[in-house]
């Protein structure tokens, strides 16, 4: 099945095009075109089935428990959109090659364009609505990149940000709506959703769900009152506008309306909301377009208006209106893309887009003028061009829909008014630009553009004409196929012909044409009126006001909360936690003490508790004398290790012991660069307050522990205990959990360890700190060399310690030990050499570059996991066998051991990396203190 390839290929192409662009513009354009063609080729095998009326499905379970599948479908609607996205995309790629200036490398442009294309294809081919939403968000992101392509211009940045804010907000609403929809239908797959229309429309949450989905669709398709972002997105290069605002981005909202049409439509809520938004947008867009002097501005608002028209058609909810809607989607894509490209040519050739200065271009570029005039006539709805057909169907449908209502003439009258304005602005595009006297003060003299820049326009205009003249031969089957998939039912009877006989629609068309001519003739007084009304009810101003207010509020709120003091923030955090804790305790109503039987108290435990309390209090009391406090904390770590031993956790005790050694050494090394004493800074009041908070926190933690320990519990650990030997091949359940059952967690954890090491490596890079010259009591630092006996003893100890760590590592699967502990022991053994023999001596014998070691560890662990994939098992499945080794005895050889080796290497590497770098800093501060032995 090649369906997923259709979506994947543009993304691959995006990467390759960006890479190939270093060779030249031509190569980038060819690569982009090639991958678009490949996507077309991938689509082709699925087409015959779709044309035959079937829905092509491709599915891969991703997170089936959450209803999230990688599932794609190709039906008529998807095929129509995919064809437009790929076809117009190809033309835009060709056009952009000539449009964008020579200094432009094109790699970035095509990479953005292709990733946008892929995202768009994802929307129209998605079978799972959550997947659809992901691609929806991807189009928001990639269109942001495209609109902000000329990121040095402030209006590009502003336009892109506005588009992202509005469509991003809509995406959020859409997420809510689709989750509700999936919940109602019982599945996120369209296959099921599309059959559940009755149930969904009767659901009590139908209205909120509909509103959320419509907000998503309306923001994307620039429907009133979210229409304001679209004209500002015109800051994008014209090829982008031609692509985004004809066939793709703004049609995504319309696509969604069409996709969910059989499920959502037909209710009064749908009718009112969709018709209301569509009609307002149709009128507002057409009205503003009439008064825009910027060529692209006119096209932008006319796009807004036409999107309103299509939305309105879907709002009518009748099958024939859906036919007209789908038809107009296609027609609008063709004539608007060609108009944008023509506008781009004019801009390119004249250096301006101001219609008050561009006049009489007919004599400069007759070919381009002819093409643009045909497209504009189609936009106006002149007979023999494709826009006429769909617009007449639109008139007929609105008239038909309204005939049953009181005041039924209002809707047809309003849409005719919009038609009048559409004719007027189309006429302005033609007459003002190509005739109407001579150009005024143009930056350059226009002439015909290169052939390949006109060719894409010509192709699109040819489609406009073919569809307009012989609709039954060209677009009819495509339309029937698409409509069948939109309605999820056989298409209604319709007849595509230029002449249906004299009726109301013809009258409406004639009124629109005549009215448009009149309005255009009266344009000068109207422009003066419009200039006076400018700025009245500016949706953009409201948007910017809301945004500014929100930023002000956020700034105010942040300032109230965070004054730039960590102490204060920690206080706020602790008080919040305490408050929530107290609230929970008091609100739960269950007794503090549970029913579980308790262990007896013995003398040793009492003594240990007493020692721990004394040591903790001593740490707090002496914390300003840092060295002393640090030594005491070391003792605390040993006590914690003892607690682990007492309660059957030998692995934890071993880990705690070795970590404690490393931590204390680390803190001692760091203390060398810090003041030896903390000054007494806090007031008595503040210390009392802090002590109170500390006591409260302690009471809370103690109470929580007590409540937990006295309650009975059930654990999932029985599974681990029973399966440890038969499944994991190890008797040490803790180790088997680490390297086998929960190996993926461990892989994450050693990655964190490696990242912490790397972060420290980066943080210490180039750090210079003055070392000490005297201790806290003012005694001078002792520069004695390392004691000879200790140095010699430590060297002797090294092989022994390494042997112990290997032993601990090997036995880890069956007895306390394993990669973590062995790694720490090795690290301690090596650090001992640094401490006793000095950095210089050890440095000569041991490389200080630990990064390869960390990398090797991560690689081994990951490859072990991937190895099981090769044999068809899930990631990190372990296998094992029993081997009899001489001397060591019977021994399991498990792949988990290889994984543990990765853990070991990362632990050794990260620990040494951290400590060695501090050690090297010591040497840098006191080079003379290190005589070579």
């Amino acid at each position: 099945m090649t369906l997923p390839l259709v979506i994947l290929l543009p993304f691959i192409g995006a990467v390759l095009t960006g890479w190939v662009a270093r060779l030249g513009r031509m190569q980038a354009a060819w690569m982009a075109g090639l991958f678009t063609l490949l996507a077309v080729l991938a689509l082709v095998p699925c087409v015959p089935l779709t044309v035959a009326g079937e829905t092509v499905l491709w599915r891969l379970d991703w997170i089936p428990t959450s209803g999230l599948n990688l599932a794609f479908r190709l039906d008529g609607l998807g095929l129509l959109f995919a064809a437009m996205i790929l076809g117009i995309g190809l033309l835009v790629i060709l056009y952009a090659r000539y449009y964008l200036p020579e200094r432009d490398g094109l790699g970035r442009f095509y990479a953005y364009l292709l990733s946008f294309m892929g995202s768009m294809l994802g929307i129209v081919l998605a079978e799972n609505v959550i997947l659809l939403l992901m691609f929806w968000e991807l189009t928001s992101l990639s269109s942001f990149l495209l609109i902000s392509y000329s990121y040095r211009k402030p209006e590009s940045r502003r336009g892109a940000r506005m588009a992202l804010t509005v469509t991003g907000l809509g995406g959020l609403a859409l997420l809510g709506g689709l989750l509700l929809l999936g919940d109602m239908a019982g599945s996120y797959d369209l296959l099921i959703i599309l059959t559940q229309g009755e149930i969904i429309r009767a659901h009590p949450l139908y209205t909120p769900m509909l509103v959320l989905i419509l907000i998503g669709a309306f923001t994307k398709s620039a429907q009133f009152p979210f229409h304001f972002w679209l004209p500002h997105a015109m800051a994008a290069p014209t090829p982008v506008s031609a692509y985004l605002h004809s066939a793709t981005l703004v049609k995504a909202g319309i696509f969604l309306l069409a996709r969910l049409f059989p499920v959502l439509s037909g209710t009064p809520e749908w009718t009112w909301l969709v018709i209301g938004a569509g009609l307002t947008t149709l009128l507002v867009g057409a009205g503003i377009a009439l008064f825009k002097h910027d060529l692209k501005g006119l096209l932008a608002y006319s796009t807004v208006s036409h999107l309103g028209l299509i939305t309105l058609l879907f709002g009518l909810s009748t099958p024939l209106a859906a036919v007209a809607g789908v038809f107009h989607i296609f027609n609008h894509a063709t004539f608007k893309a060609s108009l944008f490209m023509a506008a781009g040519i004019i801009d390119h050739e004249c250096g301006t887009r101001d219609m008050r200065r561009i006049n009489g271009l007919w004599s400069f570029m007759p070919y381009t003028a002819t093409l643009a005039m045909v497209a504009a006539a189609s936009m106006a709805g002149v007979p023999l061009f494709n826009g006429f057909l769909s617009k007449e169907m639109f008139f007929a449908e609105t008239a038909d829909f309204s005939s049953g209502f009181d005041h039924g003439w209002v809707l047809p009258a309003l849409v005719v008014a919009a038609g009048v304005m559409a004719v007027a602005y189309s006429l302005r595009f033609i007459h003002d630009v190509f005739f109407n006297g001579d150009p005024i003060d143009l930056p350059r003299t226009p002439h015909e553009p290169p052939f390949w820049m006109k060719a894409p326009v010509a192709v699109l205009v040819a489609i406009c004409l073919l569809v307009g003249i012989v609709p039954a031969l060209t677009v009819d089957p495509l339309l029937r196929m698409t409509v069948a998939s939109v309605l999820q039912a056989p298409p209604p009877d319709f007849d595509l012909a230029i002449w249906h006989g004299f009726g109301l629609p013809v009258v409406m068309s004639l009124v629109a044409l005549g009215g448009g001519l009149t309005i255009y003739a009266l344009r000068r007084p109207l422009f003066r009126l419009a200039a006076r009304l400018e700025g009245w009810l500016d949706a953009r101003a409201i948007y910017e006001w809301v945004l500014a207010e929100m930023l002000l509020f956020a700034r105010w709120f942040t300032r109230r909360l965070d004054s730039g003091s960590l102490q204060r923030l920690v206080l706020v955090l602790l008080l919040t936690v305490l408050g929530l804790g107290v609230f929970g305790f008091l609100g739960s109503g269950s007794p503090l003490t549970g029913t579980r039987s308790l262990l007896p108290v013995d003398g040793v435990s009492v003594a240990m508790t007493a020692v721990l309390i004394v040591v903790t209090l001593a740490t707090v009391a002496l914390h300003r004398r840092r060295f002393t406090a640090l030594v005491i904390v070391g003792a605390l770590g040993l006590l914690v290790a003892l607690i682990f031993i007492q309660f059957s956790a030998p692995d934890l005790a071993l880990t705690q012991l070795s970590v404690e050694v490393v931590t204390i050494v680390l803190l001692l090394l760091a203390l060398y660069f810090l003041p030896q004493q903390s000054p007494r800074e806090s007031s008595n009041l503040r210390r009392t307050r802090d002590a109170l908070i500390a006591v409260l926190a302690g009471l809370g933690a103690g109470a929580l522990t007590w409540a937990m320990l006295t309650r009975p519990f059930t654990s999932i650990s029985d599974y681990f205990i029973t399966h440890s030997l038969p499944g994991g091949g190890g008797a040490n359940v803790v180790n088997v959990i680490l390297v086998d059952f929960r190996g993926f967690d461990t892989l994450g954890e050693i990655t964190v360890l490696a990242l912490a090491g790397l972060g420290i490596h980066a943080m210490l890079y180039g750090l210079r700190l003055p070392g000490l010259t005297q201790d806290a009591e003012g005694r001078p630092w002792n520069w004695d060399t390392h004691p000879a006996i200790m140095a010699a003893l430590a060297r002797l100890l090294l092989p022994l310690a390494l042997l112990v760590s290997i032993y601990i590592f090997l036995r880890g699967h069956n007895a306390p030990g394993g990669g973590f502990i062995a790694g720490l022991i090795t690290a301690v053994a090596l650090i001992l050499q640094y401490l006793t023999n000095g950095v210089a001596w050890t440095h000569q014998r041991l490389s200080s570059n630990m990064l390869p070691l960390i990398g090797a560890g991560l690689l081994i662990a990951t490859l072990t996991g991937l190895g099981s994939l090769v044999f068809g098992y899930p990631f990190l499945t372990s296998s094992f066998t029993h081997v009899h080794w001489p001397i060591i005895g019977d021994f399991e050889l498990a792949t988990a051991m290889l994984f543990d080796l990765g853990v070991y290497l990362v632990v050794v590497g990260a620990t040494l990396l951290i400590l060695i770098h501090l050690g090297l800093m010591h040497r840098a501060t006191h080079p003379h203190a290190e005589p070579t032995p």
Binding site: G564, T609, T663, L667, D690, T710, L725, N732, F820
Partner: protein
């Protein structure tokens, strides 16, 4: 015995919180260490307390303590070492860049304190 462990965890938390509220980086790091002990013990205790039944399988033993919290705490100990190391290096860097080991980077009250 459970009461004693609760007391221990409570005392460690209280000491840690007090040190966390101090103004100098080194005290804060010490405070974090104390809280780390308390949190690790708490996580460990979520498997409840059992004496003399380590989760090392042997043919004649049927009763074992809960191994899962132990596995979690084992990695937590190592990760908290990495975290301590990171924080102390951050403290060193801050001292080098800002010339002070005060947690706010300077001893005086921050300029935009409003209350």
């Amino acid at each position: 015995m459970e009461a004693l462990l609760s007391v221990m965890i409570g005392v460690l938390t209280a000491g840690g919180v007090y040190l966390l509220l101090r103004a100098r980086t080194f005290s804060v790091v010490l405070g974090l260490s104390l809280i780390t002990y308390a949190v690790n013990l708490f996580l460990f205790a979520s498997g409840r307390l059992t004496r003399g039944a380590p989760p090392i399988l042997a043919p004649e033993i049927t009763h074992y303590t809960d191994p899962l919290p132990q596995a979690l705490v084992l990695t937590a100990i190592v990760i908290s070492f990495a975290m301590t190391a990171f924080v102390i290096m951050l403290a060193l860097r801050a001292r080098a860049e800002l010339g002070s080991d005060h947690v706010d980077g300077h001893i005086n009250q921050p300029p935009n304190t409003q209350d």
